[in-house]
């Protein structure tokens, strides 16, 4: 582990000597336990240690933040934006919103909470964090247009590590649509991102993760959040095309009538490995959670879903649902799932389902007898399989936009 990481702490801007010491302390903690491997239950199906060691000889941190390229904005619909280049928060534009209703600030690092994390990547993040953004929406303000986060990765990132973090807070009865739009040059790097979400009474956050181009990056994203009365969190993960991606979502439904939706539609191709891990904690009565994960796996791709629903004894009338479906197209592809329920309240409705299999041969036969050739018939069925997710996307303009992207991906399979 010592040899793999070649870290220069001088490259990270720190405010004080104390901070440098703090960072070094966390880095040592990280080195002690190393990258998580499959002995760790959370990483059972995605052995990060092996994956990183196989693909990286040496990992360095990064301090060249010069950027002069012009970013191509999405023209399909009006939006506000935040620009992040190589993990660093660059600029923002909120021209569609009222003044002072949405606040975006630079975030230096996660509040240095000295409490130790059992997630060793959190220690790594704290040690090497290069900051991020802090987004807050004022009370009773409903954003008029979505905010797109342009997450650009340049070409000079080979063998680099990027640790960043962001915070999102929605005050009472506010609403926001946030689109994470990842694109960039094909360099091979490791991004370790932590995000904190705080949804107050009656607020609603719709979060989309869209991957534009194929990318050789290795991504780990950890989202943890808390939800107050009547709040709603929806996350739509459409991030196909990454070499490695693990998205971990931990949501605490702390107060009554809050709800959490996680939908994902992924088409994975050659040498791609994606994992979605969720833990939804139902801590109050009358909350609802809904998860639907759909994977299309081609070539030697690897799809993983680990979902856990926890229902506390007082959380009566919980309604929780979990479904993962995988379409395996090739013999080298693999799908692993662990849909888990841990329930301590009796008056609940909790269920989960998981299926994996190949394309229905009868359906292909049906289409072929009607003059559709094999490859087109397959595409049609794959499209139908994923459509269940896309149909449920809110906002028509996003639906149209993401359908365009997924069509390109399916054609690529």
């Amino acid at each position: 582990m010592d040899q793999l990481f070649n870290i220069d702490f001088k490259k990270i801007s720190s405010h004080s000597k104390k901070e440098v010491l703090e960072r070094k302390k966390f880095f040592e903690l990280f080195l002690k336990a190393g990258l998580p491997n499959k002995k760790d239950e959370n990483w059972k199906f995605s052995d990060l240690h092996t994956i990183i060691c196989q693909n990286f000889k040496q990992i360095q941190n990064y301090d060249d933040f010069k950027f002069d390229k012009k970013i191509e904005f999405i023209k399909d619909f009006d939006h506000n934006h935040i620009i992040i280049v190589n993990g660093v928060f660059k600029s923002f534009d909120l021209s569609f919103e009222e003044k002072d209703k949405v606040k975006i600030k630079n975030l230096n690092s996660l509040e240095s909470s000295s409490n130790l994390s059992s997630n060793n990547l959190h220690n790594l993040n704290k040690a090497l964090s290069i900051g991020g953004f802090n987004l807050e929406v004022e009370k009773d303000y409903k954003c008029k247009k979505p905010i797109i986060i342009y997450n650009y990765f340049a070409s000079n990132l080979d063998n680099k590590i990027i640790n960043n973090s962001n915070k999102i807070k929605l005050n009472q009865n506010s609403e926001l649509i946030l689109i994470e739009y990842n694109f960039g040059a094909k360099s091979k790097f490791f991004n370790n991102n932590f995000e904190k979400i705080n949804l107050n009474n009656g607020s609603s956050l719709k979060n989309f993760v869209i991957q534009k181009t194929k990318c050789n990056g290795y991504f780990y994203k950890n989202i943890s959040g808390t939800q107050d009365y009547n709040s709603s969190y929806q996350n739509f993960i459409l991030s196909s095309g990454l070499k490695f991606n693990k998205i971990e979502i931990n949501m605490d439904l702390e107060k009554e009538n809050s709800n959490c939706y996680i939908l994902s539609g992924l088409g994975l191709g050659n040498e791609e490995h994606q994992e979605i891990k969720t833990q939804i904690n139902h801590l109050a009565p009358n909350c609802k959670s809904y998860q639907k994960i759909k994977n299309v796996l081609a070539n030697d791709s690897n799809g993983v879903y680990q979902g856990k629903i926890f229902v506390k004894d007082i959380a009566q009338k919980t309604d929780a649902y979990q479904l993962s479906k995988a379409l395996i197209l090739d013999d080298l592809a693999e799908f692993n799932a662990k849909p888990e329920l841990e329930i301590y309240a009796d008056d609940v409705k909790c269920s989960h389902g998981s299926t994996s299999g190949s394309i229905d041969e009868d359906a292909i036969h049906y289409l072929m007898t009607r003059g559709i050739e094999l490859s087109n018939a397959k595409k049609l069925l794959i499209n139908g399989f994923l459509n269940e997710i896309f149909e449920n996307l809110p906002e028509q303009y996003i639906k149209t936009f993401s359908e365009k992207i997924i069509k390109e991906q399916i054609d690529g399979i």
């Binding site: 395996i328 592809a333 799908f335 301590y344 009796d346 299999g357």
Partner: protein, 477 residues
Amino acid sequence: MKSSELKNQEYKYGFSTDIENFKAPKGLSEKTIRFISEVKKEPKWMLDWRLKAFNRLKVLKEPDWQKPKYPKINYQDLYYYSAPKSMKDKPKSLDEVDPKLIETYNKLGIPLNEQKRLSGVAVDAVFDSVSVATTFKGELDKKGIIFCPISEAIQKHPELVKKYLGSVIPISDHYFATLNSAVFTDGSFVYIPPNTKCPMELSTYFRINASETGQFERTLIIADKGSYVSYLEGCTAPMRDENQLHAANVELIALDDAEIKYSTVQNWYPGDKDGVGGIYNFVTKRGACRGKNSKISWTQVETGSAITWKYPSCILQGDNSVGEFYSIAITNNHQKADTGTKMIHLGKNTRSKIISKGISAGKADNTYRGLVDIGAKAKNSRNYTQCDSLLMGNKCGAHTVPYIKNKNSSSTVEHEATTSKINEDQLFYCNQRGLNQEEAVSLIVNGFCKEVLQQLPMEFAVEAQKLVSISLEGSVG
């Protein structure tokens, strides 16, 4: 069954038999193992095998990933061998068996006495560490079926034992399996010759009687080509306020076209209402479908034990082989169960089916933990899993932890699970028709379990239904 009857039936097998015991010295050591081997008059290869396991045990650690946590077991404070004194020189017929023992089994309702038999089930009864008697020997011999205590098989059929013992559960498997390999005392051995259908149900009855003992039985069942056997297993233990360890190993081997049906009604002492005492049931059960078209079917009704921790598994090696797992796990008061299965698909066209019903009441915790692993070569395989949990009250827990792996594009895996409480409309309907709350719950729960109960052989099904009702007694209202 009327509710008044229900109330009085706490744990009716909780008596202990006052019988003189012959025990090994306390503690786990090479000396103990040599002692067991010597008492059993075992050949040297068997002793070597045990010692190999014991050496392996020294480097193994007790697993700690399972949900039910328990206080550390002091392995040096246990007796590893306990036998009724009268069994030291083996009785040749039932007449020579200590009448007190026969009385114990009569109390338990085990048909040891061939003359008085009604049910027509061949029984091997294991009392603490030794096998007491095996019935119906003559009739089975005629067909060439071997059904005897494993200690006898080691002496009389060493070639079979040598070939198959440890071939499904290797001695290095995990802590409790290895412990069993080192110190196992008795158990049943079954061999069904090719193209033979075993004419009756074979049954073993296990009873832990002596205190401070662990029971380590080992069962080995081999179904040769084209044969069929149905095997039943029942267990009870006296009420004691200490925890007793039961770590058994069961190995099944099905060759080409053979079928083994293994049914268990596990009713070890579950501890009292406050969770004092009870059996730790840490059992390793595994079957290998070695041959083509072979089938292994596990059915279990788990109502007893303070902690149950077992995963009867199928390794589907042969092409077209089938694995099935039907389970009811009922936990009440402070009981904890962490049970499920593993279906490992290796051969082509292999099929598996898992039906698991978990019922949790009182302050109990019930976990289904299962693995379905479809290998890259297991083309056209299928699995269907259904696990339902029923919760009664908000002090208990029901958990589902399935692991699903599919490495194959032509195989299909389906899994579904639900957790709910007893439907109030159903309860109301029953109440309206004059059933009281407890009777209604018992009826509904029996209906909930029906899919599994149907898989049990006749004699067991009746007993199991009663058990389901008794286990939930006092959990309503």
